[in-house]
Amino acid sequence: MAWARKILRVNLTKGTVASEPLRMDWAAQYLGSRGLASKYLAEEIDPKVDPLSSENKIIWATGPLTGTVASTGGRYVVVTKGPLTGAIACSNSGGYWGAELKMAGWDMVIFEGKSPKPVYLVIEDEKAELRDAAHLWGKTVWETEAAIKTSHQDPLVRISSIGGAGENQVLFAAVVNDLHRAAGRSGVGAVMGSKNLKAIAVRGTKGVGNLHNPKEFMRVTTEKKKILAENAVTGQGLPTYGTQVLMNVINEMGSLPTRNHRDVAFEGARDISAEAMAEPRKTDGKPHLVTNQACFGCTIACGRISKIDETHFTVQNRPQYWGASGGMEYEAAWALGAANGVRDLEALQFANLICNEHGMDPISFGATIGAVMELYDMGVLTKEQLGIDAKFGSAEALCHFAEITAKGEGFGKEIGLGSKRLCAKYGHPELSMSVKGQEFPAYDSRGIQGMGLAYATSNRGACHLRGYTVASEVLGIPVKTDPLSADGKPELVMAFQDATASFDSAGLCIFTSFAWSLADIQPQISAACGDEFTMDNLNAIGERIWNMERDFNNRAGFTSKDDTLPPRLLKEAAKEGPAKGLVNKLPEMLPKYYEIRGWDADGKLKADTRKRLGL
């Protein structure tokens, strides 16, 4: 059956832990991971709660394929009401932690209430207990992992934790596991911090078994791994270049948002690209990139492990940053680089290391710095306020801001609010490049039209991982569509959104979808979970999850007015490149999207849509 069929419920207010059976009726409708944890959240909290209050809950969840031999079957999610957005948040991470939780015999851990003092949760198979974390509070993610492994005398324990950013409730704080894998977006780390929960340490020795049809599962997972190995993207592009393979491609399309989306191409793109990471540096003759790395069970291995230039101004006499470590992937390199006009690769890696070390989303952080630099450029923010000359392109300013934001010092406190609140405070809400308070990732929707609709309607605010139509509009997967046209995009966005919800909920990595369609994961899910998981059923599950998340947001107070883009993308045309003269055509796409979704003009689920999906 693939599920562990067991949930750990932790009441932080009372300091209690309890085991309860997984709702298998919900698992049949929502599969696992993102879908199932979101269902629990939607059932258990009032969507109107303050995300940072004790009434919010936060859930760590695996999918039925997490911890199995299926390729990329190592994912977990952190689900909560997000403080950056006020919407439902679901941040997905790889590494090894998720599989370890599943191998300990748990599908998910639900935290409720708020601990009166810092604690961390220790799980060793069926045993679970809260322990005092006074000695860990104030420590970075890296220090926390080392301290727990040392004090437990167990190098095999896996840790999911927050650093200073989560403790200080930076609104885009991340939850980090295995040193540099992150449930990065929407501020899930701040919720963890608000509950005085520092870390979850897991050892799982029981393993994942109890599959519906083990023999068929072994056969079909092997067959599907071959598809990944033989595909140009998952077999060659991603392992060789990582997601950074996109930097030059997207730049040439005129869709690389630059200097807070003022421009659509970056003159320094090549300097911060995958190609640049692989070339020997002038200073020490070594390339930035050391090797690629896989997450648990992954046969793609897109992860980047790099070594920063020890002579770079950011790390002189700071040997703690000289070792090999995670980074950079495309979204981070874009947000820390092009979004601010910074073309110093080593500076970007330093800011990326700070994000990992202290637990911060590099996308929202970098994009917020883009807004700060624009406000500085306009004279709204001054050097006196910021403590540094923050002109576009300043690597010094970027790295300075990374450290003060992570540590909650000086102007860093304001950066930690995210661009929406910061720009509103200084009288220019229009300069926040965000949807529902969450900053855009690395694709300009004037040149990739479908992404505008995907951003505007994403249930967790602007995001590339909720409906990655870039695959179709740029890479031609599964079919090529015209990135400059709005035609057919509502249908395309909806199809991507629903399929992604199923991939996520299985416990697999969405990057497999460069090579796999839903028809490739369906037999893996059915062999693991049961014959009832047919294509029709998985399609319905994806659509049900999307609508359930949407319904949560509607009940939280979101309306059709929130399904929009900043005026810059709707009114200021792209200045150059293939999309020159274009704005995003959201007004053309949105009504059609609502119609095919079965929503009314306010973006609310119609009664027959609810009925059809069993909501």
Partner: protein, 158 residues
């Protein structure tokens, strides 16, 4: 032909497919904790290194065992633990210089790599050929070829 497990850490991505394959082969579950091959992640250098029993000819575990529970499988060269004979005294775990034979609390016996009877599941599962199963007399062949290519090409261009 006798074969050996050949491990090339340069190719390892740290995906742990080998550990899962090993556990599944021996216990029928995906449990890296039960694997007889372990991948070590040296994060400061970025190196991932799979490690398991080298099947020593003069196997110290075999000689140390007081009840002769460890025997040679002549077909594969593997030193194999007989669970029915093993008394769980753990002397072999002290004798092994490499740490590749370990006690299993659940069974009260020790476990080590037995080459899966000649079809090692780890090597079959490895997606990057960091683990291969090759002619025991020619484990140096790949490295020889690499040097031959290097020196040969130097001569050609000289």
């Amino acid at each position: 032909m006798l074969k050996s497990l050949q491990i090339n850490p340069d190719k390892c991505t740290g995906c742990l497919q080998c550990e899962m394959a090993c556990a599944y082969e021996n216990y029928g579950v995906f449990a890296t904790a039960k694997s007889r091959i372990k991948v070590f992640d040296f994060h400061h250098t970025g190196r991932k290194v799979p490690y398991t029993c080298t099947q020593c000819d003069e196997a110290w575990c075999l000689h140390a065992c007081p009840v002769e529970a460890i025997t040679l499988d002549k077909a594969t060269g593997a030193k194999v633990v007989s669970e029915s004979t093993c008394v769980g005294c753990k002397v072999c775990t002290i004798a092994c210089p490499f740490g590749t034979i370990n006690y299993v609390a659940d069974t009260g016996k020790v476990q080590k790599c037995d080459l899966c009877g000649g079809q090692p599941a780890c090597a079959e599962a490895c997606p990057t050929q960091a683990i291969t199963y090759v002619d025991a007399n020619w484990t140096g062949l790949d490295r020889m070829r690499a040097w031959a290519e290097k020196t040969g090409n130097q001569t050609a261009t000289a």
